[in-house]
């Protein structure tokens, strides 16, 4: 184990950075798209439900097949990987965004209107603000699942920690597989900690009585 690390540490750190780039890039794109979809379709319930259904179907497509299907369009490499990963996290994100916003007690919305907030102000200051904890937990779920799925991206030469897993598989060695797993988990944990720190900035920790 240790010896493998000593021999390949530079390469492994590179793979980790690649992995992080793929996951965070796709997640960022997916978050932006989720926000745009919510803002555009907030008042059109049927559209939102339809979108959620559409993304749930995509979510059920096996990731291996999804990667393969994109090769003729966007070719081999990171771009294809990021597109696929963004689609996967879109479902989780959209679902949690919508749930969070719908769960806000409607009496707050009426009071907000009664106090003289515009529709936009109600959305930003009340709906979104109160939905943030749910939104952040959705981002966390999307982050963790994308980290795992991203290992498959190795098959379309997108790099990342999947390379270690497949190297292990092809050469019949356990050590690279173990390292790939450990580093994936480690990277996930680091990202979750950072996400929590960001959440602490945006979400006020309201004391319970």
């Amino acid at each position: 184990m240790i010896q493998y690390w000593q021999e390949n540490s530079g390469q492994m750190i590179n793979l980790m950075i690649q992995h992080a780039q793929m996951v965070l890039g796709s997640l960022l794109i997916a978050i932006v798209i989720a926000f745009i979809l919510i803002v555009v379709f907030l008042r059109r319930e049927n559209w939102l439900n339809g979108l959620m259904y559409f993304f749930s179907l995509l979510y059920s497509v096996p990731s291996y097949a999804f990667f393969a299907l994109l090769i003729p369009i966007t070719g081999l490499g990171q771009i294809s990987a990021i597109i696929v990963l963004a689609f996967y996290s879109e479902y989780v994100l959209l679902r949690s965004f919508i749930t969070g916003i719908r769960e806000v007690d409607p009496s707050y919305l009426e009071v907000a209107a009664g106090l003289g907030m515009t529709t936009k102000q109600i959305f930003v200051k009340v709906q979104l603000a109160l939905a943030l904890p749910t939104i952040f937990s959705g981002i966390q779920v999307a982050l963790a699942s994308t980290m795992a799925i991203a290992t498959i991206a190795s098959t379309i030469s997108a790099g990342g920690l999947g390379d270690l897993l497949f190297e292990g598989l092809q050469t019949g060695r356990v050590v690279p597989i173990l390292w790939g797993t450990i580093l994936t988990v480690l990277l996930t944990l680091i990202c979750i900690v950072i996400l929590k720190l960001i959440e602490n900035i945006f979400v006020v920790d309201v004391p319970k009585q």
Partner: protein, 255 residues
């Protein structure tokens, strides 16, 4: 000259096929304390929400502060009408001072002016500003929360205050204290009009300069508490007053 602050002209309101308000006409003068008494489904809350435009009439005209609501900018209008509701509706993610400062902030006041106002208002509703300003709503009791609700509604010094059953979820002692305080508040803030919806007959008679008794979307009687109690205009009002008398009999028995 007495100024009319609210005027309803043949207002009708339907939710789909359900007619909540049939044909409502009344006017309220500046500075009056009006209580609206009715059971649930009487249309009293709908009437209140039509005053600040949260509900729109199906037909008829509503004039608030010389402004026809059909042509008014409702957002601007609402920033100058106080609004207190039964659910209290303090935003849980904001501190007490942020909650009170919501509407002033929307109006673009600078923070110094907002802070001063928050301090004044907390004192006005009997809460120590040092102790409460930076707390969150969940850390306050129901009665304290509704005090903040009242303070928030007063933040922009509106000429008109709407109360939608504000005390009905509170315990009897807290409720009575708050009723007394609201009545004092109305005296203190001369010229402010209070429009107070309730289903509690004692509350309605105690607080109101005039009491509007509503049933099935119509006004049964709109008169001083004395007249409502002693000269009920309709059978419904008579029955309503009868319940109080029955209660009194019960108290006599217990003695």
């Amino acid at each position: 000259m007495i100024k009319e602050i609210i005027k309803f002209n043949h207002v009708n309101k339907k939710f789909g096929k359900n007619e909540v308000i049939k044909d409502l006409s009344f006017s309220i003068n500046e500075g009056e304390f009006i209580t609206v008494l009715g059971s649930s489904g009487s249309g009293k809350t709908t009437t209140l929400k039509m005053i600040n435009g949260l509900e729109k009439p199906t037909s008829g005209q509503i004039i608030v502060n010389d402004c026809d609501l059909k042509e008014a900018n409702l957002v601007t209008l609402r920033r100058h009408i106080g609004y207190v509701v039964q659910s209290i509706g303090l935003f849980p993610h904001m501190t007490i001072s942020q909650n009170i400062g919501v509407t002033p902030k929307l109006l673009g006041w600078d923070q110094g002016k907002i802070d001063l106002k928050v301090k004044d208002l907390l004192e006005l509703v009997g809460l120590d500003s040092k102790e409460y300003a930076s707390r969150y709503p969940t850390q306050l009791s129901g009665g304290q929360q509704q005090r903040i609700g009242v303070a928030r509604a007063l933040a922009t010094n509106p000429p008109l205050m709407l109360f939608d059953e504000p005390f009905s979820a509170l315990d009897a002692i807290t409720r009575q204290n708050l009723q007394r305080e609201v009545k004092e508040l109305h005296h203190k803030l001369s010229k402010k009009t209070f429009f107070f919806v309730t289903h509690d007959i004692n509350e309605a008679l105690y607080l109101g300069d005039r009491v509007m008794v509503m049933n099935h979307g119509q006004i049964e009687q709109f008169d001083t508490p004395n007249k409502v109690a002693n000269q009920p205009a309709t059978n419904y009002v008579k029955r309503l007053i009868g319940t109080v008398r029955e209660n009194q009999a019960l108290w006599e028995d217990i003695k």
